[in-house]
């Protein structure tokens, strides 16, 4: 029920809830207005009918006196008319003369001219107590006339109306809430889409675009704007990459020419001293070329062409690189330990991963003092494959730990040692394009670098020589 939790927390859901509440209030207002007008109309109709009848009785009384009135009442007491009409005419002492009510009701609630009372003893009336609404009328000779209507039906109608309105309101609120949920989830899904796209763009895939959906609504417009912003960022990045590529290339071309000229000059020289000078000049040119190549490599590694990634056997790469650097460590009088857990696979570009590991090992060997120890291992850390490279060198002070990953940053004490200062930046670039996590820690003494892959791959099964398959592409 993770989505429910997120739903309740999300803005869209709260908006939907507020919307539903406002909607419910207005709908109930509307319903009660309908109720009051409908039930009021029924009552007014009933009252109008009573008033019309009284006018008729008045007529009969005026024309033929009490006898006429009694006749008129009896005429109306036709049993075939079952409209719930109530009539009662009593004399001065309250003896019923005519009508269908046994006696004058004892308790009447007077509402203006109207009286409301319970009927018990009406002729043919149902056994249960009925409610009635009536008008009283006093004749000139002291007789009292009551004309009313049994209002059970209309009250039942009122109750039924009220009930259906309540049910209707409940259904409306429920549907509103449900709509809010659905609407909220729909909107949330679109926002989630935007978020996840942004996340994958941050991990280096600048070609991704936010799904636009309906281009005319706010989210669609937001997505469009994000996309055009991304287009612009991509254009700028391309431009910057182009510029740095061009600069590196433009500088490399004359450098290459310089080197060629020196090489040509070297071939014509005989004096060993002059040869020495030219050879060290060539070495300098090579150093410069190597730096530019490293910068270009970083740019390319950062561009991170993830579509070229293939499953890699990390142990195989680790062994290759360790085998390559082990002798260098031993030459320096360092103890060198390499241990690679078999069966760890991850996606990547073989040469870039090897380059990153090689740079880490190169640094570890470079900075470890004689008699020190360099260790390289691959392990599974919390379900994720990782390379660990540790040395017993001076380590990196905490304040420099993030800076050493930047391009060309070198700590003052390391300026004297050879290298372009791009080794760790290249590791960082590879890490960025491969979604690797780099951790620099104290090894007490020395530095321990952990390079963790974002996910482990299951080792491919149908492989006869596991080390050669992923390598085949680069070979």
């Amino acid at each position: 029920m993770g989505w429910l939790k997120r739903l309740v927390r999300s803005i869209t859901f709260r908006l939907a809830l507020l919307y539903t509440a406002i909607f419910a209030v207005s709908v109930s207002g509307l319903f009660y207005f309908v109720f009051w007008t409908t039930s009021g109309f029924a009552q007014r109709q009933l009252e109008a009918a009573i008033q019309a009848e009284i006018a008729g009785f008045q007529d009969s009384y005026d024309r033929s006196g009490t006898a006429g009135l009694v006749m008129a009442i009896n005429r109306r007491l036709d049993p075939s008319r079952r409209d719930g009409a109530i009539y009662l005419l009593v004399d001065q002492v309250g003896t019923p003369i005519a009508g269908n009510l046994g006696s004058w009701p004892r308790r009447v609630a007077v509402d203006d001219l109207w009286v409301n009372f319970n009927i018990r003893d009406m002729e043919g009336a149902p056994e249960e107590i009925a409610e009635a609404r009536a008008l009283q009328f006093l004749t000139r000779d002291g007789f009292r006339l009551m004309v009313g209507r049994d209002i059970r039906e209309s009250q039942q109608f009122r109750r039924q109306l009220l009930q259906s309105l309540n049910v209707g309101l409940a259904v409306t609120v429920f549907l509103g809430l449900l709509g809010g949920f659905v609407f909220g989830r729909g909107v949330m899904r679109r926002i989630e889409g935007i978020t996840s796209t942004c996340r994958s763009i941050m991990s280096g895939d600048l070609t991704r675009r936010v799904p636009v959906g309906n281009a005319n609504d706010e989210l669609g417009r937001l997505a469009q704007n994000i996309n055009s912003m991304l287009d612009q960022i991509e254009r700028l990045m391309r431009g910057m990459q182009q510029v740095s590529d061009n600069v590196a290339h433009d500088l490399r071309t004359p450098l290459t020419r310089l080197r060629s000229r020196l090489e040509a000059a070297l071939r014509k020289l005989e004096d060993p001293q002059q040869i020495d000078v030219i050879e060290s000049a060539i070495a300098d040119a090579d150093q410069l070329l190597a730096t530019f190549s490293a910068l270009l490599r970083i740019a390319r590694a950062e561009a991170g062409l993830q579509r070229n990634f293939i499953p890699l056997n990390l142990a195989a790469i680790g062994e290759d690189v360790a085998e390559m650097y082990g002798p260098l460590a031993e030459e320096k009088g360092l103890s060198f330990t390499a241990q690679f857990e078999p069966g760890l696979w991850a996606k990547g570009e073989r040469n870039l991963i090897a380059q990153a590991l090689a740079n880490l090992l190169d640094n570890a060997i470079k900075y470890s003092p004689e008699g020190g120890a360099v260790t390289v291992v691959s392990v599974l850390l919390k379900g994720k494959p990782a390379f660990l490279v540790s040395d017993t060198g001076p380590g990196i002070p905490d304040e420099f730990k993030s800076k050493v990953l930047e391009r060309l940053f070198r700590m003052e004490q390391s300026r004297t040692s050879p290298g372009s200062g791009l080794g760790l930046s290249l590791v960082q670039a590879v890490a960025r394009s491969h979604n690797l996590e780099i951790k620099l820690e104290d090894n007490h003494p020395g530095l321990r670098v952990t390079l963790t892959f974002s996910e482990a791959l299951l080792a491919p099964v149908k492989i006869e020589t596991p080390t050669s398959l992923p390598d085949a592409q680069a070979a």
Binding site: H249, R252, T253, L255, T256, R257, R259, S260, E263, A264, L266, R267, K268, E270, E279, I282, A283, D286, L289, A290, S293, A294, L296, R297, R300, L305, N308, D320, E323, M324, Y325, P327, L328, E331, E349, R350, N351, L352, A354, Q355, A358, N359, D362, N363, I365, K366, P418, G419, S420, G423, D471, Q473, A474, A475
Partner: protein, 255 residues
């Protein structure tokens, strides 16, 4: 046809006459082999052609894809150096056509595109080697020589002999002056590569690409350490060293 015959074809009409190299320090004679350079960048082509000519090759140069295609399909060459990005048909198309015409001349691709996928595309199209720009001329020369050599030998030879050094690839056995030399697997492969290219300069990058099968930049010259270990075994116990360092370029196994 705007083809520039940079090297005078009068140097070696047949293309196979032995001539002296321009390098007075290396008193080596090479066969004047014919090389076709298809490169549109004028300056790059000029240096390339000049350098190759100084090294004793006969060079034809085409400045665009159309001329390059024509020459590649009509003239016999020993090696073709093809830029990947060309006006007219590009390098891949040219080499593809060349291979479809059953011409097996080794091809070295030159490209500013150094990505692995570009390399694979180049090799798939029928290229034999791939060199990213900018390159040092010695690197290019070493690779050209390796390609020339490869064209003339059977690569599946299981017994190699260079001077008094012998390698039996089936028995995984190395013997120098009758004495058995024990090598680690990588040292064995390293020596095998050097022996297959005996007498030629082999660069560190070539070793990294062919012996370790990686395309990356080892920060330090790790290769040198492996070479020095190999030397300990094949040179040190013997009176005459045969594994030579060529300064500014690489290594060479003396014939």
């Amino acid at each position: 046809m705007q083809t520039q015959h940079v090297s005078g074809s009068d140097v070696a009409q047949s293309g196979f006459g032995p001539i002296a190299t321009a390098d007075p320090r290396q008193k080596v004679t090479v066969l004047a082999m014919r090389i076709l350079v298809i490169e549109d960048d004028r300056e790059a082509a000029e240096y390339l052609v000049k350098g190759l000519r100084e090294s004793g090759y006969t060079v034809d140069h085409a400045a665009n894809g159309k001329d390059g295609m024509f020459l590649a399909l009509s003239e016999p060459y020993d090696v073709m150096i093809v830029d990947r990005m060309l006006p007219g048909p590009d390098g891949l198309t040219i080499v593809d056509s060349v291979r479809k015409s059953n011409i097996t001349t080794p091809v070295l691709f030159l490209s500013a595109l150094g990505e692995v996928e570009d390399r694979i595309a180049g090799l798939k199209a029928g290229g034999d080697d791939y060199l990213a720009k900018p390159y040092s001329f010695s690197e290019l020369l070493a690779r050209v020589e390796a390609l020339l050599r490869r064209a003339g030998t059977q690569p599946e030879n299981t017994f190699l002999k260079v001077g008094d050094l012998e390698m039996d690839l089936l028995a995984r056995k190395v013997v120098r002056q009758g004495k058995r030399v024990y090598l680690h697997p990588r040292e064995f492969r390293l020596l095998e590569y050097l022996m297959r290219h005996a007498g030629q300069v082999v660069t560190r990058t070539m070793l990294l690409e062919n012996v370790w099968e990686y395309h990356f930049d080892p920060q330090t010259n790790v290769i040198d350490v492996h070479i020095s270990r190999l030397r300990q075994k094949i040179d040190k116990p013997f009176d005459k060293p045969i594994l030579e360092t060529v300064r500014g370029a690489g290594y060479k196994l003396e014939v």
